[in-house]
């Protein structure tokens, strides 16, 4: 026996005991009533002669009732409930479908939005890279131009310097001739003076290098 039944059984046992007690009380009252000459003895339920009739009609009525319930009533209610359930399930399925569809549409929309956004970013990146490249190129061109100009200027400077240096050498040899004539009374030739200037310049350069 299951626990539910045992529980129900306990409760029922109590009730049944109470009921049986009352029933026995009733039999007692019936006895008293009988003593007062008011009714026939005992419970009417225990009159065996009424039993065949009750059994017969119970069997007939319950059998007919069973056929009616099983053929007409329960199929009718069952079909209505079944139809309602399938209708509800249908509607729910359709709602679920629509909801999925909406979700898909939304996802698609968001994907295309994302794509457009990425494209725009790409464009922006490309444009800025191009601009940067342009700027760098023109900067390089300008730098190159400047470099050429600077190179030319430096060449000129070097030329001027070389000229100045050679002028300086001839001035030095003239000064050396003049100095030799005045100081030593020696009459030096220009070639000698040049040679001496070169030699002392080399010595100086050597000392400087040393």
């Amino acid at each position: 026996m299951s626990t539910i039944e045992t529980e129900a059984g306990k409760i029922e046992a109590g009730k049944t005991a109470a009921a049986v007690f009352t029933a026995s009380l009733v039999v007692g009252i019936g006895g008293i009533a009988h003593a007062a000459g008011d009714a026939e003895p005992g419970l009417p339920q225990l009159k065996v002669e009424t039993w065949p009739s009750q059994l017969f009609w119970l069997a007939v009525i319950f059998a007919i009732g069973y056929v009616f319930m099983s053929r007409v009533v329960t199929p009718r209610i069952g079909t209505v409930l079944e139809e309602r359930r399938s209708r509800l399930d249908d509607d729910l399925a359709r709602a679920r479908e629509a909801s999925t569809e909406a979700a898909t549409t939304r996802a698609e929309y968001e994907a295309s939005l994302e794509e457009a956004r990425a494209q725009a970013a790409e464009f922006a990146r490309n444009a800025s890279a191009e601009a940067l490249a342009n700027a760098e190129a023109s900067a390089a061109r300008a730098a190159k131009r400047m470099a050429t100009k600077v190179g030319k200027a430096e060449d000129k400077l070097a030329e001027d310097r070389a000229e100045a240096e050679s002028n300086l050498a001839s001035v030095a040899s003239e000064a050396a001739i003049a100095a030799a004539a005045q100081v030593a009374g020696v009459k030096a030739t220009k070639a000698q003076a040049d040679k001496a200037v070169k030699a002392s310049a080399a010595t100086l350069a050597g000392q400087e290098a040393g």
Binding site: K15, A19, L43, P44, F68, T74, I77
Partner: protein, 252 residues
């Protein structure tokens, strides 16, 4: 009491023939008991059939009530017997409707409560008992008798437990029938006793008549209680039938 013309409280259970009938030496007269069996089935069946006549997708009040009754019993069968109980559902539903309407019609004054007849309740309980036993034997064969051996019981106790289980099994139809019979008998008798008391006290006349208010109040309370008992006992009979069927089908 005879002088006041007061009936005995058990007078209400008396079987009165409406028309005489006999077959094979037995008296099978159509009686007040038979009439109310017929009424219970006809009123119950007519209520259910007419409530469902429109078969509406969105039910009205009557159809809702009929559907609730159906689903109540269907849930009872499903939760107590399982899916194998489907085949027995029409029988259990008929049983419930018959008992419920029988008990409730019995609450109408001057009506007759056939469920207060031990022979009627015993016949139904015995039918359930025999039917359930046959169902079990057909389904499980001799294995059915393991029903009397409680699972997980200590070995030395098993012989005693088998005796107890066998007794408790064979007591089922008795307890099932006596429960319904005794509840109906006791309830209706109590109502009559208190009603008789109220009439008796009011017969005293004068200021003493107010004393009859006490039993009268008790009748009001008891009537409410009896409506509860009427529905509850129909339910109890039905659920126990389901449980016995479950035992036979699943052997614990």
């Amino acid at each position: 009491m005879a002088s006041t013309g007061m009936h005995s409280p058990i007078e209400q259970f008396k079987i009165k023939p409406i028309f005489e009938l006999s077959a094979g030496g037995y008296d099978i007269s159509f009686t007040n008991s038979s009439l109310f069996m017929l009424l219970a089935m006809v009123v119950g069946g007519a209520f259910l059939a007419s409530a469902m006549s429109k078969r509406e997708m969105v039910p009205g009040r009557l159809q809702c009530a009929a559907e609730m009754m159906y689903e109540f019993v269907a849930d009872l069968v499903k939760s107590n017997v399982g899916s194998e109980g489907r085949a027995y559902f029409p029988f259990i539903f008929t049983l419930f409707v018959f008992l419920l309407f029988g008990n409730l019609l019995g609450m109408v004054p001057y009506s007759y409560t056939f469920t207060s007849q031990i022979i009627v309740t015993f016949a139904m309980a015995a039918f359930v008992f025999v039917g359930v036993t046959i169902v079990g034997l057909v389904k499980h064969g001799l294995h059915f008798f393991t029903l009397f051996v409680p699972a997980g019981a200590p070995k030395p106790l098993i012989p005693f437990l088998i005796v107890i289980e066998v007794i408790s099994y064979f007591v089922r139809p008795v307890s099932l029938s006596v429960r319904l019979f005794a509840n109906m008998l006791a309830g209706h008798t109590m109502l009559k006793v208190f009603a008789g008391l109220a009439v008796m006290i009011s017969g005293a006349g004068g200021i003493a008549m107010t004393g009859s208010l006490l039993p009268f109040a008790a009748i009001i309370g008891l009537t409410g209680l009896e409506f509860l008992v009427a529905a509850l006992q129909a339910y109890v009979f039905t659920i126990l039938t389901c449980m016995y069927l479950n035992d036979a089908l699943h052997l614990h």
